[in-house]
Symmetry: C2
Subunit: 350 residues, 2 copies
């Protein structure tokens, strides 16, 4: 039994089909009666349903939600929170909607309730992000962690499978890296393994029949667990690599995730023998290879070469990857980073 | 995927041999510098070690700790907290020491840090209890949940095996009932299964060699997980039965636990097919039978008849058990309770 530290995060999760309609009760439970609704602009029909359920509790609606939370737009949401006297925010949508709620929480200390429609996981974390021009600032603040999350799988039924698949692979990466990330601990490892078990079983089934609510439910549940793990453990080699090369070469986030995850796990395997063994036994086959096969089953590309990683990209990326992953569970020199990136470019089964 | 609600509890856990010596750092981390040390009186030598580590942070020591937190003694501890101007409590010992810290937290709203020396699990819950004469009052208050728990397995090395075994069986019961108790949810089920896995594997090994720190560590870890589950899920048929018959006939808590758990699980099996199947697959044999065998391996009695349950006890106990377990996952009439108690009295392998 290795020593560990585990800072457990509080938070209420309500999970089940149709439970978005309990959002009013959940607001009441917080003892507030004036909420600002922040909703993804691209699904205004369902956002209106939430507004109707909130009824007179809803004192304002903000739909100017875009990626990466630009400061100027965050200020608009904050001003609306002030002018309406909101006592809480309800955010409806993917990670961007959640991000705007966090921006308001950061300045106004308002509790946030989330109705996620994707597998972003950020609704479970105390991490905020704001973009000023091309500069993205992020921070950790327990005050921006949403207090209540309602996961209603019906909200994910319309998520096209070519978005749902990569988004869920990203969640799977949170779970896998939860086994060896900076805040890893045995409790989170148990939750991470449960997440991997559920996602690996149900992702291919959801792809077969995207209208099957049971499969959508299982994947949303697996993604929720992955988000809970991410919130405590943080990210490691896989996500840090994706952050570097995605930023350098503007690669598609979901595709990149599917390529890099099996290779990152294979690279780390020698340093995480016990966890790797548990994953392999859970998956019924070599862990990295099984994740590679899963990505194939989801029709994602297998190599960085296929998705636009430039031929001369390794030279510029390798030192940055080595630097970003300085706290990786297995040490990574610039030469190691080069070899690792080359494996991702080739995209062979590890 | 069944709908569920999960109210996750915050809390910091520091786990590892020797980490009791980090108690000063953990106090500093809370930003306070005056603490009241509450320690089990029967281990004053190690309590003094804690006092030394706390140094000038320690502004008072209370050692008048007895079972069930009598109100008069709790008032003594509270007065000491007031007169010393303590800003936090550090409790050192088993569930009783933790209970005194909670009594102070209830009145003074002081954060509590725990150094548990048994497998009670109460250091993870927001449940307090106070006894006035023969009357025990209990309540749930997030303000009494300890904020930091240091699990140092070295502190359990001196726990005699005939106390450690039944105490760990009690923890195992928390984990098993965490699969179907009133607040059960799939996340806690994953943690509960991890707890069962660890305890069932390591309890017999700890019994073989009580001086093996690795085995003591594993059992303390399994008991910690069980406490985390208990804090969220609450208790069910097993504990409610033990509470009733223990109170009626003054039976030994640990022995009673070892007898009742396999029978309670067997009774509930038809109502928890999925969870029962997961337990059985984890244990590599029928779940209730395996727990029965484990209790035998720990040399605990197998039947209530052996531990003093009176011949005519069923008539008085059955209606009370049926009433106490009214929210049990499988309904329990008075006749059912009678049959269930008779199975516990016979003590056959379920």
């Amino acid at each position: 039994m290795d020593p560990f530290v585990y800072d457990a995060l509080a938070g209420r999760v309500v999970f089940g089909p149709g439970r978005r309609r309990e959002i009013g009760d959940e607001v009441d439970r917080l003892g507030v009666d004036r909420v600002l609704l922040i909703a993804d602009g691209f699904d205004l029909e369902r956002a209106s349903e939430i507004e109707r359920v909130l009824g007179t509790r809803c004192v304002g609606v903000f739909t100017n939600v875009v990626q990466h939370v630009p400061v100027a737009l965050a200020e608009q949401a904050r001003e609306l929170a002030t002018s309406t006297g909101a006592q809480a925010t309800v955010t409806f949508g993917g990670g961007s909607a959640t991000g705007f709620g966090k921006a308001v929480a950061l300045s106004h200390r308002l509790p946030q309730l989330c109705l996620p429609t994707t597998y972003a996981g950020s609704e479970l974390t105390p991490i905020w992000g704001l973009t000023d021009g091309t500069q993205k600032r992020t921070g950790r603040d327990l005050g921006v962690q949403p207090v209540t999350v309602i996961y209603d799988p019906e909200l994910t039924l319309d998520l096209p499978i070519d978005i749902a698949g990569p988004s869920a692979m990203n969640a799977l990466a949170h779970a896998v890296e939860g086994l060896y990330g900076p805040g890893a601990n045995p409790v989170m490892s148990a939750v991470a393994l449960e997440s991997v078990r559920v996602l690996v079983e149900h992702l291919p089934l959801m792809k077969q029949d995207p209208s099957d609510l049971d499969e959508r439910s299982a994947v949303l549940y697996g993604a929720y667990l992955a988000g809970a793990v991410l919130a405590v453990v943080g990210t490691a080699l896989h996500h840090k690599t994706c952050h570097v090369i995605g930023g350098l070469f503007n690669l598609d986030h979901g595709q990149m995730n599917a390529v890099v995850l099996p290779q990152a796990l294979a690279y780390n395997a020698p340093a995480i023998a016990d966890q790797y063994g548990r994953l392999t036994s859970l998956l019924g086959g070599d862990a990295a290879g099984t994740l590679f096969d899963l990505a194939r089953a989801l029709d994602t590309p297998s190599s960085l070469a296929q998705i636009g990683f430039p031929d001369d990209g390794v030279d510029v990326a390798a030192p940055l990857v080595a630097q970003a992953a300085a706290d990786n569970v297995r040490s990574l020199t610039v030469d190691d980073a080069r070899e690792f990136l080359e494996a991702c470019i080739r995209g062979e089964r590890p």
